[in-house]
């Protein structure tokens, strides 16, 4: 009879997938499936399951409703506490990099490396944006840097859809080595103690390079087809920026947290603080104690407000994770017969089905994907392997190519690129990113699949 509970849980998962595809709020979607999983598990544990089943899964099948609610809603949400703190400091650091005009200066200097070849400038800018976003986190940073980068690219005659895609996909690539992203996913998989940032970085940096190379090739293809002199409508005249007072040394600030973490294992919040105050000091923002104190709290406020909706979503994912642990024994018997024990098959399926990461579908960890992850680990795949597989489809398809991502939605509104035009530019390239990175992951990490 336990199998009946398992089937109902699978149906709930299918419902979540359909709901998110239709554009439902993923935050409430996860809350609802959490309640359903918890209720089904309690019903199973109290009324249906055999003694043998309960004994075999002792420890993960509470019969007591208070215990179940404690595990799911209290401890589940709390389990993301540490991660949210990282997100907050990442957002603060992003604000500092913007406020000091460091990001802006880096971008202007990059543009001045080449004045005449739009394709080369676009590729250089995508590399630079990838470096910047390897350290900072949050939609606010993506928007604030986007308003600098996108007008530069379009003023070089690059079509808006191409410019926007190059920018958004660079941000997606950067997250392959972003410490806050690492922290968030090891929390999701519950492997914070065993899967270090160094391990994540060693995998992710190659994925990042693969994505940037393929992105550059696609950018050049898109430009070759459309390269032209154009007399286009203008709606304003850019104002003359005063040369900033950002010293050269400050331009290193965005990559300091990643560098300190990778090389010296300095924890990321300390890294954010060191890099943030370094940036403020060398840019002359710490001349008076009162101003420093004000800026510190203002940037913290602005950064955290910016990531607040995202944090709300993460908290329901935390609850869902805990509910999925209650559900695991039931889903487990359902999957007993499933013979998906091949890392090659999983990588190939994820590659072929990668567009299911669009619209918050089952292949993105920022959508219905955490439920998919639970199913894969229940089958027996190791958490780091599932993290790499679904991490790829999340970053390379969803974050790089789908306008259900908050900052991509902003970019489409800002540039007024029609959404179908956007998908025509993004999806083919993103699909190639996914296939290439999954092939690499299988070849190098296939042996760690179990």
């Amino acid at each position: 009879m336990e199998i009946g509970i398992g089937i109902l849980m699978l149906l709930a998962y299918a419902g979540l997938v359909v709901y998110t595809f239709k554009g439902g709020s993923i935050q409430i979607g996860f809350l609802i499936i959490t309640v359903i999983y918890t209720a089904l598990a309690l019903i199973g544990n109290n009324f249906i399951s055999s003694e043998a089943f309960l004994a075999a899964n002792a420890g993960s099948v509470p019969a007591n409703i208070v215990e179940a609610m404690t595990n799911v809603f209290q401890k589940g949400a709390e389990s993301y506490g540490a991660n949210l703190v990282n997100v907050m400091f990442g957002a603060w650091f992003g604000q500092v990099i913007l406020e000091t005009r460091i990001a802006e200066t880096i971008i202007r200097k990059t543009v001045e490396l080449d004045g005449d070849r739009p394709g080369l400038t676009m590729i250089l800018l995508s590399i630079i944006c990838t470096l910047i976003f390897s350290g900072i986190y949050g939609a606010g940073g993506v928007i604030a840097i986007g308003v600098i980068v996108l007008p530069i690219l379009t003023s070089l005659g690059i079509p808006k859809a191409v410019a926007l895609f190059s920018y958004i996909a660079s941000v997606g690539a950067a997250l392959f080595i972003n410490p806050v992203q690492h922290n968030q996913w090891v929390t999701l998989f519950g492997i914070g103690d065993t899967y270090s940032y160094q391990q994540f970085f060693n995998w992710g940096i190659i994925a990042l390079v693969i994505q940037i190379i393929i992105l550059s090739i696609f950018s050049l293809i898109y430009l070759r087809k459309e390269k032209a002199y154009a007399w286009a409508a203008q709606t304003d005249v850019p104002s003359e920026e005063k040369p900033g007072k950002v010293p050269g040394i400050a331009l290193l600030a965005p990559i300091i947290p990643v560098f300190l973490l990778y090389v010296f294992k300095i924890p990321v919040i300390a890294g954010f603080l060191i890099a943030g105050f370094f940036a403020m000091a060398v840019c002359g923002k710490m001349k008076r104690f009162k101003d420093t104190a004000y800026l510190f709290s203002k940037n913290f406020h602005d950064g955290v407000v910016d990531v607040a909706p995202f944090m709300g979503f993460l908290l329901t994912v935390g609850m869902f994770n805990a509910a999925a642990a209650l559900a695991a024994p039931y889903l487990g018997i359902l999957l007993n017969g499933v013979n998906l024990q091949s890392p090659l098959l999983v990588c190939a399926l994820a590659g072929i089905l990668a567009p299911l990461a669009l619209f918050r579908g089952p292949l993105t960890l920022a959508g219905a994907g955490p439920a998919t992850a639970k199913i894969l680990t229940t089958i027996g795949f190791s958490s780091p392997f599932v993290l790499m597989v679904l991490g790829t489809t999340t970053l390379s398809m969803h974050i790089s190519g789908c306008f259900t991502q908050s900052w991509t939605a902003w970019g489409i509104g800002y540039t007024k690129v029609p959404t179908n035009d956007w998908l025509k530019k993004s999806v083919p390239a993103c699909w190639v990113f996914c296939i290439a990175i999954l092939a690499y992951t299988f070849i190098v990490y296939g042996s760690t699949a179990f």
Partner: protein, 235 residues
Amino acid sequence: MGQQADNTKVETLDLDEMLSSLLFLTDAQWGLYAFSREPVRQKFSIPERIRLAQQAEECGRSFAGELNEKAAGRSMREYAEQMGITVEYLPIPGDGAQVLFAQFFPPNKIRIYDDCLNKAEQFLPVGNGIGINRREEIANILLSHELFHWLEEQNKNGIFTKQEKVQLWSIGPLKYSAPISCLGEIAAMAFTQELCGLSFSPYLLDVLLVYGYNPAAATNLYRGILRVAGNIALM
């Protein structure tokens, strides 16, 4: 983002009034406007921008003189077609993502988008200050501008707009210079003005053609042009 949001709130000025006052701008002021969109503009002081713009204008005008002799009375369109250039008239660009007036695709295709012409015709008052009344005249201006880019590509190795370079960086003895892309635009405008015998810079069409789509955006653009033109006072 702020700029774009403001477009909806900004008051709208009368088109003919704006065009008439833009007639008073000098070549140097239009040069500064052209430089305002140059990606490497920070490499140039205002006097340098004006000097380069002047040279680009001379370049454009001398090509116009040459072409006038060669074309000898034929219309621009006939001449272009004789030179093996395909001239297409489409309502709007295929991807629809951007409002474009005209494009030149190397090596030899020019496209004129006439949606903007229809709109301009609708708004341009009869007896206006700039003396342009027929859409064909505007189309001819767009065609001449793109024709200059064709000439630029033909004379890549000698023409001022491709040869004048700015040093962007150096590492020890290694130096890197690149052409200045707005010079081609400035020259194309001077070329067009000469060829079509206009009493004003064709840059003025930026305001006229945008007006048909969005009068508030055109007003905003007009104000921006006056703002950069005002930089001449800083000399």
